[in-house]
């Protein structure tokens, strides 16, 4: 913002008075907790001095290691499936639906997400349970004699996540498609490209940065989420957030929970750095 320098008689001291409350809040309730968590992660649960044992446990205990592997696998599956489902949907909304209905179509797609998040996961449980809607339909139609085990599986967790992220990615990809100037497509057509080639060589590459932003958002929100895996996946297979919450809930082990949280955050940061670099290359 270039406005800062020409504000006339404004004094910097007044500026500091305005920004200090927000900065203080962030330092006190965001940075300081982080420092506290860092210290806590370096102490032993039963008192005593400095130790790296909490981090050591993550790397030596295969169950903890497995939770991270599960988290990354689920997140990767969710991200890929959501992008693949959302892109055609966003394309249809942007290209096939008449302009005046597009706003309504988008609002309709967002509508079911105005329930509470906890309730939404529970609703999928109603659909996927042993005696739920899908199993009743399958056994009722005679396709299957036994109900399928759908709830409390990785599949249920993935479905719950994909449900939300298809909506989110549809919004970001739709916005991207609408921003494309129609002249690109006209130029491609003038140069003799058919609709398929125009899409593959013009539209898709131009929307790729938007897809990456959406995919990164999906990754961050998915890898740190506790509700969906806990309600839909159950305890058969633990993901990282469930492992963290388990340390606090059952055993009150704050140091280990802190260490696991910091490891989880480190993974997100690495993903961010990887993504940021990729995006920069894309823009150049």
């Amino acid at each position: 913002m270039n406005s800062a320098t020409n504000s006339g008689r404004a004094l910097p001291r007044a500026g500091w008075a305005l920004v200090t409350p927000a900065l203080g809040w962030t330092l006190l309730f965001f940075v300081l907790p982080f420092v506290a968590m860092g210290f806590s992660s370096l102490t032993a649960h039963d008192g005593g001095g400095f130790t790296l044992a909490n981090y050591g446990q993550f790397f030596t205990n295969p169950a903890y290691w497995q939770a991270m592997v599960n988290s990354l696998q689920v997140t990767a599956i969710v991200t890929v499936v959501s992008v693949l489902l959302a892109y055609p949907f966003a394309w249809i909304l942007a290209e096939q639906v008449p302009e005046r209905w597009q706003r309504l179509a988008l609002m309709l797609a967002v509508l079911p997400f105005w329930t509470s998040y906890v309730v939404r996961s529970y609703s999928w449980l109603l659909v996927l349970a042993q005696n739920g809607v899908i199993n009743r339909a399958l056994t009722g139609s005679g396709l299957f004699s036994e109900p399928l085990q759908l709830a409390n599986t990785r599949l249920a967790t993935v479905i719950g996540f994909v449900h939300f992220f298809v909506m989110l990615l549809t919004l970001t990809i739709f916005a991207n498609l609408k921003q494309l100037s129609p002249s690109y497509r006209k130029a491609a057509a003038d140069l003799g490209a058919g609709p398929v080639r125009t899409f593959l060589h013009v539209v898709l590459p131009l929307t790729l940065p938007g897809i990456m932003v959406g995919a990164f958002l999906t990754f961050v929100l998915c890898v740190g989420d506790y509700i969906t895996p806990q309600i839909l996946g159950g305890n058969n297979e633990l993901l990282m957030p469930q492992l963290v919450m388990m340390q606090i809930g059952r055993r009150g082990d704050f140091p280990l929970a802190s260490a696991l949280s910091i490891i989880l955050m480190a993974v997100v940061t690495i993903a961010y750095l990887a993504c940021a670099r990729w995006l920069k290359i894309e823009r150049a």
Binding site: A4, Q96, L126
Partner: protein, 260 residues
Amino acid sequence: MRALVRIVSWLYAIAIYGFIFLPVVVLVLFSLQATSFPIPPFTGPSLRWYDAVLADTRLTSALVNSLLVAACSSAAAVTLGFLSAWGFARFALPGSALLRGLITLPLTVSYLIIGMGLLVLFNWAGIPKSLLAAGVGHVVINLPLCFAIIYSQMGDHQINIERAARDLGAPEWKVLLLITVPVMAPAIFAGFFLSMTFSWDEFVISFLLTRFDTTLPVEIWNLLRSGLNPKTNAVGSLVFAVSIVLVVFFELMLLRRKPA
């Protein structure tokens, strides 16, 4: 070819809408039957479980708590966000970019980790779990959002109006209250509305930082221990209905403000 694309598009869109709507339809449908399990076959309609929800004081007081936490934390977040946005947009502060980055940093961290950090800090400082503690956490997650929205809307044309007011002799506080706040009202409103939504729906921070008095998502979570329960369906449907009414209301307000 064109017709084929159209047919496939229609089928695909219907399938995705079906997928998106399936759980909420099931939720609402089976909240309307009297049996003690919200499963097929449908035997409604009945409002039995809605009566049960409204008679449950734990749920109704959690609802009031949720509204209270959402309103107070959003007001705090939007105030802090507005003041800091104004400060950064109007004054040349050293290290501005870095400090702005610091304020928006919590956006990149998951709620679970923000809640964990506050839990460890409060536990260490001897601060008990309470609605206030959860409210503090909600300001942490919403302040960056309010700041980003309001800061991005502080353009140059507003500066000129502010300068005109100063030239005419208005003191700084009058410029703020009579010029800047009214001009920035849409951004302030958007920040407040979004904060309300996020705070209203937030689970994990409230779960970690409250104990007896708690918010509605945590109380619904407690209901889930009893498995599939039509009461959960009813309370979920009620939340859904209230949200829809609010969204439609805001949407109409925004549409009406736009020149036709």
